[in-house]
């Protein structure tokens, strides 16, 4: 095994033919890693990676300590959302909710409509409104995927964002998601799985999304609940009018005493409706089914209930929009999970012990490794690479980098059957297309909106399973047509949100054969089939303008079947 890795490594490094089973050139290897471990190649990148050494590139990608590429600092400055606190966003959300409540209180009247219209105008017209800030998250994510040199990190961030999916538009999550992405996911995407798991478990975004913040011990009495609330419990609200000065009236005035009575009544009402009634199993189930053990991971319904009981008290302190443990609503009885006894009375420590236990369970190692292999190797990942990943997991104590390295070193990663075998997700397609034509992105949400139109509105997957990794999840008639139209629009320079200069891809020429060969080289990395070459040449025959011919040929190459795969 180690020998095989050594042989593979040498062959790739030296650009020599690989063992008979894997007749890949260094160019093939470079194209493969740029497709799988990055968001596709920019023109010339395959050659430069092949020249410098594919393994060297892999080592560099695995060597970054942080997904943040310092070279992107200037670009990221255009996204205000990266510099707004979760607490500020929570305040904006509450202000919006209060305005909606005041409008709704007008009944079915013109005043109500006017107030709602005003709110909408304010949100759309203001770069720093909650709605604008939220729209920047898919945008900055798309731009980073295009521009960052830390390509593998960006791929892993996307993977974990879906593994620990949170729906950005569920209530409070509109305020919590930015911090979830920037701190919880990006801050832990390359570390230990256990730390990432704990970070998600304690994130207000996840606590709200999967209702754990609402889950209290059965039989917690209301007084206990109130006490819990007094210390920042479930329904605790930041006191309007005190925390951030007086409560602003949308028409510019200020309510006497600083508090808008209608809004307060609405907030109280909402808090009462939200008042927890008992145990909520939602997070407990998804924690085991999706985040750790997997659906066949050997847990039972009593395990789900006991996990939920252990995690009672893990909630959100809305006064500072942060995680808090509320002992008053924590289940004080002993519990058993997967045969392990959890003695009574250990409060928050029970949850920490549980998360560590789940993170290091063999079923978790297998389940998460298989998902990583589905991302990096094949929709139906072979056992070999999963076993390699699990071995690295055991040896490293769940270091994500070590697991990913093991997958890349696995012979399955390089097997010809697994090269060009995966269909790109909409995000991968859009980003790789923009990279392939060396286009410049702007800071508007327009490019991310195209990703959404192709079927993958980022952070808007409602159910906790996240966006899928298999071709069945993405290939349908409307989606394919949308990809073809996207490609043609991009190549013709008509794509809002990006600036395309085809001179940065291939030179303009009257020699169609030379043009198509250059496009094969620059855009498809030499993967163009004979049929595609002939079809494009045939279509170019009646196009006299060399600029139009170049745009058409690039559009067909990106919209064509080769470019849908990676």
């Amino acid at each position: 095994m180690n020998q095989l890795i050594a042989v593979l490594g040498m062959a790739v490094l030296a650009g020599a033919p690989l063992p008979a089973q894997t007749p890949m050139t260094s160019i093939d290897s470079a194209r493969h890693v740029l497709n799988r471990l990055a968001y596709g190649a920019t023109p010339g990148e395959i050659e430069s990676v092949a020249h410098d050494g594919v393994l060297k590139w892999i080592d560099r990608q695995l060597g970054y300590s942080d997904p943040h590429d310092p070279a992107l600092a200037d670009v990221e400055r255009n996204f205000d959302v990266l510099r707004v606190s979760m607490l500020d966003m929570q305040q904006m959300l509450q202000n919006n909710q209060a305005r909606i409540a005041r409008a709704q209180a007008q009944g079915d009247s013109a005043a109500r409509q006017r107030m709602l219209d005003e709110l909408r105008t304010d949100q759309l017209g203001n770069r720093r409104s909650l709605q604008s800030l939220i729209a920047q998250l898919p945008a900055v994510t798309t731009v980073r995927a295009v521009e960052s040199d830390h390509q593998l990190d960006e791929v892993l961030v996307d993977f974990w964002t879906n593994h620990f999916n949170v729906f950005i538009n569920k209530g409070q999550d509109r305020a919590y998601f930015a911090d979830y992405l920037e701190t919880t996911i990006r801050g832990h995407a390359l570390g230990k799985f256990e730390d990432l798991l704990v970070a998600t478990a304690k994130s207000p975004a996840m606590l709200f999304y999967l209702d754990n913040a609402e889950s209290v011990a059965d039989g917690s009495d209301q007084r206990a609940l109130q006490r819990g609330r007094g210390r920042g419990g479930i329904g605790s609200q930041p006191a309007f009018g005190r925390r951030r000065g007086r409560f602003p009236n949308p028409r510019g005035g200020v309510y006497p005493g600083g508090v808008d009575p209608v809004a307060m009544a609405r907030v109280r009402q909402a808090a009462q409706q939200r008042a927890p009634r008992g145990l909520n199993e939602n997070y407990a189930r998804e924690l085991m089914e999706l985040h750790t053990l997997g659906v066949d991971g050997g847990y039972t319904q009593p395990d789900v209930i006991n996990v939920a009981r252990i995690l009672t008290g893990w909630g959100i302190d809305r006064r500072d929009a942060s995680y808090t443990f509320r002992d008053a609503v924590h289940d004080k009885l002993p519990k058993v999970v997967l045969g392990e006894k959890f003695a009574a009375g250990h409060g928050e420590d029970e949850g920490m012990r549980l998360l560590k236990m789940l993170a290091n369970n063999p079923a978790t190692m297998h389940h998460v490794s298989a998902q990583l292999c589905a991302r990096f190797v094949n929709d139906a990942p072979p056992d070999g690479c999963i076993d390699d990943a699990v071995r690295a997991w055991l040896k490293s104590g769940g270091e994500i980098r070590a697991v990913v390295r093991a997958i890349i070193r696995s012979p399955d990663f390089w097997a010809p059957a697994n090269v060009q075998s995966k269909v790109k997700t909409p995000l991968e397609f859009v980003v790789s297309a923009v990279r392939a034509v060396n286009a410049l992105t702007d800071s508007t949400p327009r490019l991310a909106q195209r990703v959404a139109q192709l079927g993958e509105p980022l952070f808007q997957h409602q159910t906790p399973d996240g966006y899928g990794e298999r071709q069945e999840d993405w290939v349908n008639s409307g989606a394919l047509l949308a990809r073809m139209n996207f490609a043609v629009q991009l190549a013709s320079g008509r794509m809002p949100g990006v600036t395309v200069d085809l001179d940065r891809v291939v030179p303009v020429t009257d020699d169609h054969a030379a043009l198509v060969a250059a496009i094969d080289h620059a855009v498809l990395g030499g993967a163009m089939t004979g049929n595609t070459r002939q079809t494009i040449l045939k279509e170019l025959a009646d196009v006299p303008d060399p600029h139009i011919a170049r745009a058409l040929a690039i559009g067909l190459a990106i919209g064509g079947p080769e470019f849908q795969r990676q």
């Binding site: 399973d465 349908n476 008639s477 139209n485």
Partner: protein
């Protein structure tokens, strides 16, 4: 030998040779199915209309004979004289009055106190369960309508067999049987500045995909180009509404008009899926005016236009409405209703035995409610779906379409 189109394409051309079968679907681009026996399903169509957000079934189909309705809904109950009576017990919301003629002609059936046995009051979970057809099972990979289409896949001789109107394929139609996702018929195809450009691009991409695509991309793209060609030949968007029907503005009316156009163009639509949102009325739901009334107005207007437009053809078409759950019996403090349990479904057209409200009425007294607050469920939604599939589209294995569901006694809407 039933073999799915998709499996066919995955296996590649060799499979055709080894089976000795004619690859009919490879060159059937120019034909449109004849309604008279041409379509293998008998030319029947089921239109699924999903009311996302949980519709208040008690406002849609009002249990006027249950005194608790009036007692618990002081602010949002409809005035008695505005109601459109159906039988001694139930009445239509006044904004659904345009559906009353269907009821009178026995073409509209209602099932009340229907829903999912799942206890979830989460929109996300409950929609997921209703679409997968497997309550409380989250890892079901496909939707119930897709599983129906995989059954008897040898009938799948048109790319239009299952069509969803929207940018994405809904969970209901997700799965291994081919389904089209069409946001708008008028823009389904290649876009270019000139028509000649569109033709050139369509031809070029079709050749590219025919020559080099593999697997699912190959089969899906083949279906796509075939659909484009069939649309070009049949030109359904040129078909004007029949019988003086007028569709209103809005996405729902447009989608239903396009469903009718596909049906009338004989493109072989067996299952069509349309979404309509805006039913999550927590605040100021209103009664005869207001949010809910506006939504119901749009719903009834679009459905009335659709049934009028299709006229006699409604014999072959059934429309069913569905929603993930209902809403609380008691109005809340903000003149709205919160997430509940049971709701109502409407089934119209085909051979439905209409003019009747089906399902046992559980009553609205507090002790009769689900968890003391919601309309209890006396009919499982899968029983209704099963009966509609079998009663209208034709026999199929319901164990396959709704795994794990023990079929109870018939609801009795068909046959």
């Amino acid at each position: 030998m039933p073999i799915s189109r998709r499996a066919f394409m995955k296996a590649g051309g060799l499979a055709l040779v080894s089976l000795g079968a004619d690859p009919l679907f490879l060159d059937r681009a120019a034909y449109a199915l004849r309604s008279a026996g041409g379509a293998a399903s008998g030319g029947k169509t089921l239109v699924c209309l999903f009311q996302r957000g949980a519709v208040d079934g008690l406002s849609m189909i009002v249990p006027a004979g249950d005194s608790w309705y009036w007692q618990e809904r002081q602010r949002i109950a409809l005035a008695k004289e505005q109601l459109v009576p159906l039988d001694g017990m139930f009445a239509l919301h006044p904004r659904l009055a345009s559906l009353k003629p269907l009821w009178d002609r026995h073409s509209l059936a209602i099932v009340h106190a229907v829903g999912s046995p799942s206890t979830s009051r989460s929109h996300f979970d409950a929609q997921d369960y209703m679409e997968s057809g497997t309550p409380d099972v989250k890892n079901t990979p496909d939707g119930w309508a897709n599983r129906y289409c995989t059954h008897a896949a040898e009938h799948a001789n048109t790319p239009f067999r299952a069509v969803a109107f929207g940018p994405q394929l809904p969970r209901t139609l997700a799965g291994s049987a081919p389904s089209l996702a069409i946001d708008d018929l008028r823009t389904f195809g290649m876009r270019a500045a000139q028509a000649s450009g569109e033709q050139k691009l369509t031809r070029a991409f079709e050749e590219l995909y025919q020559g080099a695509a593999t697997g699912l991309v190959a089969s899906s793209s083949a279906e796509t180009f075939e659909a484009i060609k069939m649309l070009k030949t049949a030109n359904p968007t040129a078909i004007t509404p029949g019988n003086g029907a007028t569709y209103g503005k809005g996405k729902l009316a447009t989608s239903l008009q396009q469903v009718a156009q596909l049906i009338k163009a004989d493109l072989g639509v067996e299952i069509a899926f349309v979404d309509v949102g805006g039913w999550d009325t927590h605040v100021n739901q209103g009664s005869d005016q207001g949010q809910l009334a506006t939504r119901l107005d749009e719903l009834a207007g679009a459905l009335a236009a659709f049934t009028t437009d299709l006229g006699e053809r409604m014999r072959d078409v059934v429309v069913i409405t569905m929603s993930e759950f209902g809403r609380t019996v008691k109005e809340n403090g903000t003149s709205g209703t919160d997430h509940g349990h049971g709701t109502a479904m409407m089934i119209m057209g085909g051979n439905v035995r209409g003019g009747k409200v089906y399902g046992r009425w559980p009553g609205l007294a507090p002790e009769q409610r689900y968890e003391g607050r919601d309309l209890a469920i006396t009919t499982d939604f899968r029983a209704v779906f099963s009966e509609v599939l079998q009663g209208h589209l034709g026999p199929a294995s319901m164990a396959q379409v709704f795994p794990g569901f023990d079929q109870p006694a018939a609801v009795g809407m068909f046959g």
